[in-house]
Symmetry: C2
Subunit: 452 residues, 2 copies
Amino acid sequence: MFTRCVRNILSRSAFTVTLKQHSWRRCSTSQTETVDQVTTLLQLCVDRFFVSPGHANVELFQRGLCCSYGPLGMELRRNLLDQWWHSVTRSGAQVLGINTLSSSSREAPTGGQGQLRIVECELLKQRLGQKELSKERLAEEVRMLLQMSPSMRTNLLQGALEQFVPSLELVYRKLPFGLAETGLCFQPAEGSGCSAEVTQTSLVWFCSPRTSSQWLDHWTRQRLKWWRKFALSPSDFSSNEVQQEELEQAASRGVRIIYNFPWGQEVLETLWSRGDAELLHIHKGDRSKLQHRDGRKSIPHVVSITANMDRGAMAFLSNSLQQLKREESKQKLHQRKVLKLHPVLAPIKVALNIARGATVELRQICEGLLQEFLEAKISVWPGYLETLPTSMEQLNAKYDEMGVLFTIIISENTLESGLLQVRSRDTAIKETMHISEIKNFLFRYISAADNI
Amino acid sequence: MFTRCVRNILSRSAFTVTLKQHSWRRCSTSQTETVDQVTTLLQLCVDRFFVSPGHANVELFQRGLCCSYGPLGMELRRNLLDQWWHSVTRSGAQVLGINTLSSSSREAPTGGQGQLRIVECELLKQRLGQKELSKERLAEEVRMLLQMSPSMRTNLLQGALEQFVPSLELVYRKLPFGLAETGLCFQPAEGSGCSAEVTQTSLVWFCSPRTSSQWLDHWTRQRLKWWRKFALSPSDFSSNEVQQEELEQAASRGVRIIYNFPWGQEVLETLWSRGDAELLHIHKGDRSKLQHRDGRKSIPHVVSITANMDRGAMAFLSNSLQQLKREESKQKLHQRKVLKLHPVLAPIKVALNIARGATVELRQICEGLLQEFLEAKISVWPGYLETLPTSMEQLNAKYDEMGVLFTIIISENTLESGLLQVRSRDTAIKETMHISEIKNFLFRYISAADNI
């Protein structure tokens, strides 16, 4: 099933790779091992409900595009987007959230090149069915319909530039401030005629011309720090300055934040210092509307910070997968895969299970705890609902692959003494704890990880 | 600016309205008053940064479609979506979140009627430019390109039905369970050739055939309770059974949740008991894949629960706007507009301001409090950044229209005694409080409102 994916990886890696050694036990990364790693990662993502099955879907995922996510992948990306949102809106800097439309009838700034438009099928078919028209007239009518059809956005920058004027009012006409948005953007997929969706995050920062380069540096530091905060091996995230010859038209400087995938480097986020040309263009050169209070007739400069959070989710999955090998006996090579996702990103914080011999009372305890966790906004997995017998070892292996932080085992002993067993994903150590302490323990553990 | 909107409202209300008396001081709702109400509401939404300015944008908003939201509207809808998410995923029922693509190449179930497709402009223009083709061949080529282009989803049901099989595995093949998703859906806009975006929430519930009608009732109760929880005047939200002749093709029963707008009733949410036909159709009749553990060969039935959260945000804005009139003297009619949004929905919980005579020390206190609130995830408005003189009365009027729950005034007195003034939006009463107590006070106030 994954052979084609892996073939793709290999052909791509020939172009881009400078493979680095990960901190965990990979002695050397030969090409075969890279393939193994990638296959293992993708297979795990499907088996453990991060990504929906199906070759085409997994390929989207691997290419850093939006795909059909399973419940765990959905929750991971949701956590990631929440963290991004909090990091930009609660940074102390003046950042306002906005929401713009994903399609619009305005002329795209690229002049139509590679544009995607939403066409109403019936209307187009009606045009095509007009018998009396000449061929030229028909082509002309179809072109006009196309011209009238709304185009899909390829980024969130345009919307933010348009919202600059009303937002300036809201911040008392003072700079600097930023407009934040997350949402789907659409890109033509090479060759296939298909379109590709990407979940982007965008912070568009408006500042005085003389400070724009400093702000670019500021946001680069902030963003790199943010990516690394959640990483198991932070050095896989890095930033580099865009070379002069690769700069976008309007930009005076650019920085890329990059992740080292097993198959090579890919861009997660791009920061551009864009000057004021686009802002002036969108507002038709009306300088008076654009001036801030301390402006002395200068127009704000724009720094744009755009990330791909689908690829971001993929990067953290890749970064957090540890494969630990241990020879148990001469015949048996024991291999443990653990998805050591950061506590705030992990889609499931705790799993609730019952030791051998489930009774009505034990299930009731589980249901009580489940409710308690849900109220404390701790996501919980109701493992006790599974009635087919599973060994503790199988269960732990499964939860480790799902990235579940802690597994709680309720047993007969819990009924008598109130004690339960808590196993940690990261240490594989089992502790005994009183049932009254467990919620606070989890809450403190997650908060502590959040505040580092 | 709004006269056209208002004209639209009037023409629409003739068809749909059965106007109800609101609880607040509207003695009679003549048509003129309805127009006044709607104009006031829409104007306030623009002035107070809920909705971006522009006639076309405000019209989208009023029609219950996704529009370009300002910072306050964005935050309101975000809060609403969060509340929906928590209410379905933390209800104790087994609900899994998923994320599916907004466009897909699969054949739409409606057979192409009214479909929107994403077309790559360049490809279509290339086809049109082929000189050597006959007219018929040209039309055929365009049709083929259209056929290959991905279609935009009109609802979230299809994606959830597709995800049923992998999800069934995750819940140990046990019923009932649900798949939850929120996202943009696209609809052809009548006549205009434009498309319209709607932010939908979808819970697709899979249950045994004999319980589906009970589940429909269960979810109707839950959903109506949810809408009313956040309402100032809950009786404006109601539900009614869909008449036999209006049932969708596959459905055996349907319920609508309705809001009484000043211009008439509009549907916020629809619940359908859909049977198993669509599930079987999507999985090509492969019954063995669809059977749950206690199935005895029966196929799960589907209950779909779909809401429009753009219209939902509009409903809560409309529901929470109170216009209070008071004659101060014979000449002056004092009118106060207060947006009494529910504490968990209010986009800004607290505004921080400085009394006359701002000094460096007072600003530092504000910045300290700002940081403290942000860390406690209490959204705060930095009113102290405004340096133009504003009277306290103007300030309160503005914050009331923004729906800000509390306004804090820091003064010289705060420096001496640690005391600050807190004004409540809902009572307009000012209290004195010690600076060390304010965060906990706000936190408790919001949590209490959440838990009712």
